[in-house]
């Protein structure tokens, strides 16, 4: 085999590897839709998305996932509210302020947090956080929105922090030097030069963190409480979509209406995470900092 054919050979091998991911994704999406769409022959899209009652095993069944969608959104938004300040500020500290030794330790600890299995975090929320929440606030239940949001935030922090940190690190050195040369303090440099320059990266980080939180299953299954009703306070239980799918899929008869309804819920979830990813992609391309002139 001469050098040229070798090159071509290698090129196609890599092409096949790249293709595998696309083919697998296409197959998953295809089966998701094939199993999910039949529900809409029985239930209208509007009744499915905005129906208030989720009674899949009764006769006649109700397949309204609106309380589940609300459940997913509320835990994701609250988790984001907790995780964004913590994650972004941690990233700023690591990238701009911390001395080298602390920086290395912090970075690896945050990465370790990302490596914690979600079932361990869920168990922690259920056995440790829930009784504490219940005693401190004198609540009827510790398995609620606040508990789930805190655990989800813990899972989103590593994503947000490490991607933000990469973005902050990528801000050119001359920006900072220029800022200092004009007499700006360190705080002014961070707040007015570095953070705006890295904003698209930080936004991407937040979006990916949210996508992580909304798709997370084990934690919400274990600590959100699982009540399929619109919550009246942040200490109520909710039933986010992934929890519903995970809890019910195992015992539902194959290709029953309930089975199709769970796949359709999976489709809704797929579209939501897709939206988050598209927004992240759009923001990081559109507001990409190229050169210093646009600052």
């Amino acid at each position: 085999m001469n050098r040229k054919t070798k090159e071509i050979f290698i090129k196609y091998i890599f092409f096949v590897f790249a293709l595998v991911a696309i083919i697998v994704l296409a197959m998953i999406v295809f089966s998701l839709f094939r199993e999910g769409l039949p529900i809409f022959r029985q239930v209208s899209v509007k009744d499915f998305l905005f129906g208030m009652e989720w009674y899949p095993t009764y006769d006649p069944p109700d397949f309204g996932i609106f309380p589940l969608i609300i459940g997913s959104f509320i835990v994701t938004i609250m988790a984001t509210l907790i995780a964004v300040p913590l994650g972004v500020l941690a990233a700023i500290y690591i990238s701009e302020i911390a001395p080298r030794s602390i920086k290395e330790v912090l970075k690896s600890v945050i990465e370790l947090l990302a490596g914690l299995p979600s079932v361990v975090l869920g168990f922690f929320g259920m056995v440790v956080i829930a009784p504490i929440l219940q005693n401190v606030f004198d609540l009827p239940t510790g398995l609620n929105i606040v508990n789930a949001s805190m655990i989800l935030a813990l899972m989103a922090i590593p994503t947000i922090s490490s991607i933000s940190e990469d973005a902050l690190y990528a801000v050119p050195q001359e920006f900072k030097e220029a800022s200092y040369a004009l007499g700006a303090t360190k705080f002014e440099t961070i707040a007015k030069v570095i953070l705006p320059a890295a904003l698209s990266g930080v936004t991407t980080a937040v979006m990916l963190g949210m996508a992580r939180a909304i798709g997370e299953t084990m934690v919400v299954l274990m600590v959100a409480g699982g009540a399929a009703a619109i919550p009246e306070s942040i200490f109520d239980s909710v039933r986010p979509m992934p929890a519903s799918i995970a809890a019910e899929m195992g015992e539902t008869p194959y290709r029953s209406l309930h089975y199709h309804a769970l796949f359709a819920t999976g489709m809704v979830l797929f579209f939501l995470t897709l939206t988050f990813n598209l927004i992240a992609d759009y923001v990081s391309n559109k507001f990409k900092q190229t050169g210093s002139a646009t600052l």
Binding site: W54, P56, P67, T141, G225, G226
Partner: protein
């Protein structure tokens, strides 16, 4: 590309066919109740480990589906959490099927609360009202002035189905009820929450939770077997005529001490004393 894919598919199919032909000397199909399914599933796994030549497949669908399948002769053994109805057994006879009943275990569902809860007994109606969301405070049933947090199992679980059968009788569980994914999670949650009420199969009781009496009867293996305890029932399997071959051997195994140990392990009441 497509041709090659087809060829691979062909080879795979041939292999799959060969494997079923050469390894399965006899196959037994189970279908029916999701309440009975965990027992059969465990027992089948144990039985197949001891008899690797036997092919057994278990699927759910509910008691009605199982009995329908035995009448249509599409299953060898039907699992059911209720006795066969008169119409069903007549329909079976008209199709030349003689549905023979075998009791394989007892099912007893116990309401549980936090050990510090003062309430010790509830009637079935009170339980139903609590789960429908009509009774919302423990003081309404003789307890402290605390909100009731009703914890339920997921609506597709067999335990939920039992609860629905004994207590709810087709009334809807309030959407405010918490739904937990396993009986283990339920006992953990109740053991840590003095507002909570939940229900589990008798095998899941432990010292962290307090079992309630129902209509004044304490739920134990004895009261379940004597049917004195109201939330108890027999679990059945049905065969077409007296079972033969592997089906008969499997049912003998299920009724043996070893089989009934499995019944206890998955949370139901064994029919014989295991001591």
């Amino acid at each position: 590309m497509l041709k090659m894919f087809k060829r691979v598919l062909c080879v795979a199919t041939v292999f799959a066919l060969m494997s079923t032909v050469s390894f399965a000397s006899e196959s037994v199909v189970f279908k029916g109740s999701t309440t009975v399914l965990p027992i059969i599933q465990e027992a089948v796994e144990a039985y197949m480990k001891a008899n690797p030549n036997v092919q057994m497949s278990v699927s759910g669908g509910g008691s009605g589906e199982g009995i329908k399948a035995i009448i249509d002769k599409t299953t060898d053994i039907a699992m059911s959490s209720r006795a066969i109805k008169k119409e069903e057994s007549e329909l079976a006879k008209s199709k030349g099927v003689n549905a023979v009943e075998h009791v394989v275990a007892f099912d007893a569902i116990i309401p549980i609360v936090h050990p510090r809860n003062k309430v010790a007994n509830l009637t079935i109606d009170q339980l139903s009202q609590i789960y429908q969301g009509n009774i919302t405070n423990w003081k309404e049933v003789g307890g402290d002035d605390l909100k009731i947090v009703a914890i339920s199992r997921d609506s597709s679980s067999g335990t939920f189905e039992s609860w629905d059968h004994f207590v709810m009788k087709k009334s809807k569980v309030t959407p405010r009820a918490q739904m937990l994914a396993s009986s283990g999670a339920v006992t953990t949650a109740v053991g840590k929450n003095r507002y909570a009420i939940a229900y589990v199969g008798i095998g899941y009781l432990n010292k962290n939770v307090k079992a309630l009496s129902v209509n004044g009867v304490k739920g134990t293996a004895e009261t379940a077997l004597s049917k004195e305890y109201p939330l108890a029932r027999e679990l059945y399997v049905y065969t077409n005529g007296e079972p033969t071959g592997e089906a008969a051997k499997f049912l003998a195994f299920l009724k043996s001490k070893e089989g009934q140990k499995i019944v206890g392990k998955v949370g139901y009441v064994p029919m014989i004393s295991l001591k």
